[in-house]
Symmetry: C2
Subunit: 275 residues, 2 copies
Amino acid sequence: MPADPPALSPPATVEAFRDQLLGLSGNLPRRLQQCADHVARNLDAIALSTVAQLAQGAGVPPSAMMRFCQIMGFSGYAEMQRLFRSALARSAPDYATRLANLKAGGAGHPSTLVAEFVEAGRQSMEALARDLNETALNQAVATLSHAKTIHLAGFRRSFPVAAYLAYVFDKLGIAAVLHDGVAGLAHRATLQRGDALLAITFAPYSDETLALARQARASGLPVIFLTDPPATGLAPLGDTILTVAEIDFGAFRSLSAAIALALSLAVAVAARRET
Amino acid sequence: MPADPPALSPPATVEAFRDQLLGLSGNLPRRLQQCADHVARNLDAIALSTVAQLAQGAGVPPSAMMRFCQIMGFSGYAEMQRLFRSALARSAPDYATRLANLKAGGAGHPSTLVAEFVEAGRQSMEALARDLNETALNQAVATLSHAKTIHLAGFRRSFPVAAYLAYVFDKLGIAAVLHDGVAGLAHRATLQRGDALLAITFAPYSDETLALARQARASGLPVIFLTDPPATGLAPLGDTILTVAEIDFGAFRSLSAAIALALSLAVAVAARRET
DNA sequence: GCCGAAATAGAATAAACGTTCCACACCTTG
DNA sequence: CAAGGTGTGGAACGTTTATTCTATTTCGGC
C-alpha cells in the first residue's frame, strides 16, 4: 500500500503554496478543482476568511475545502490559514504604526513629510500594479527592442526619469540618446530611420517634448509616451501610450511609479534583445 | 444616574480609533491604561490576534481587554476586531492578487518585471519609514535651511535624484546648484562661505562626489550625505549622514525611497525658511 | 449493467474563542 | 474606622468555527 499521492508536505511560503497548487491543478476531482481555482484567485482572502466563507465562495461544502487543505499537505484549514496570516502580519508588522507615529510629530515636521511621501509612493505603486495596461507595455517593449537607437525625451519634472533611463540603457549596452536640451541643441538630425522615441511627460506637457514627438512622427519613427492619465491629446502623437497614475503629495510627486515602469521597460527590452 | 462616561460610540475608522484612544488615555484605571498603551503600540496586530493573545501582550487578563473594548464604544472584542480586519482587507484587496497575476506571466515577461519593481519599491518605502533616523533628518533640514546656496552632487545612478532636487528647489525658490559635470567643469569656485553641500551617492561611491565633499569640508562648509547603509567611510567626510536601505531588483534599484526622502528634505527646508 | 473504489455531502463532534457574571480586593468618602 | 463604590481576576457559559465520521452517490473498468 504505497501512499497513493506521495503525501505532499505543507508549503512554507506563499510562493511555494502557489507552485504546489499549480502542480496539483488539472488532475483533481471536480470539487477539489473548484477549491483550487477559487483559492488561487483569492489568495489574500484566506487569511481573514473562515472555512465556511471560503467554501461558499468556491461553491462547495466546507468538508470539501477541508479535504483540499489536506491534499495540499496541511493538517487542516487552521494550519493553512496560519501560513497566510503570518505572511500578512509580516507585511504590516509595524509599518502602519510607524507611519502613524511619524505623522504624529505634527504637520510641517520633516518626519511627517517623509510619512506622507512614503504613503503617496506606496499608493502609486499599488495603482501601477492595479491599472497596468499589459497590452501597451508589451507593444512598447516590442517597438523599443527593434529600435536602432532609443531617443529619450523628458524635461522638467520628467527629466529625472529620462536621465535614469539613459543611465540604465547605457549600463545594459543599449544605444540611447538623452535629449537633455543642454546648449539648446535640438539634436534633430539624430532622429534616424530605424530609431524610436520614448517621451516622458506629465500634464501639462512640455512643448519641447511634444515638438520632438511631432518631428519623430513626421519622420516615420514610432513614438511611445509615458505619461499620466487621462493623456488627453496625446493619442495622435504617439503609437503607444503608457499611463501611470502617480499620487501627488502637495505640489510634488515621488515619481516612484513612473521610475518603476520605466525600469521594467528597460530591462524587458534588454531581455528581448538578448534572445 | 447620568451615564457617567457619555458612553462613547464605536469609531468607524482606524484614524477615529486612534483619536478616541488618545482622548481616553491618561485618566483610565490601571489595567485599562495598560490595554490602551499596548493597543496603541500594536494597532496592526489586532486584526489577527485573539483576545487572549492581545491581553497577554498587554499583561492583563482577557476580561480586562474585554472591558477596554466596551469603554471604547464597541459591543465587544469581535466588533472592534471587525474594524481592523476590514481596514486590513481593504489595503490588500486585489493588490496582492494582482501582483501574483502579473508575476504569473512568467519570468522575463514585462508585466512580471513591473511586479518585481513594484514590490521592491514598496519594500523600500516601508524600510524608509521603519529605519528613518529622525535626528539626522532634522539636523539636515536645519543645516540646509541656513545655507545661502545648496550644492547638489550626484552622479551615475544618483544623478536622477540630484536632478530632481535641483528642479524642486528651483520651483520652491531656493538657491541650488546642480553639479552635473557637464563640460567637465568642477565648479570649485562656486562653493562659498555660507553654502552647504548635499551629496547623494550609493556604494561604490563615485570619486567626483567624494572629491567635492572633501573640498567643501576643507572650505568649512557643512556636508550632508544621502547614501545607503552602512555608509562605511563616509563619516569623516560628512556632518550629517542620511541612509536609505533601497531594495534592489536585479542590478537596478527603483530609487523610490531615496527620492521620497530627498523630496521630504526639500519641502521641509522650504517650510523652515518661510517662517 | 454490475462491482469496487474513490469522492462527496451533511450531520455529529470537538476545540477554540468571545463574552458574561460574580465574588473579592482596593480605594475613596463620610 | 466603616460603608459604598469602583476596579479586578477568574471561572462558567454560550457561540462560533474547525474537524471528523459515515451514509450515499458517482465514476471507471470489466
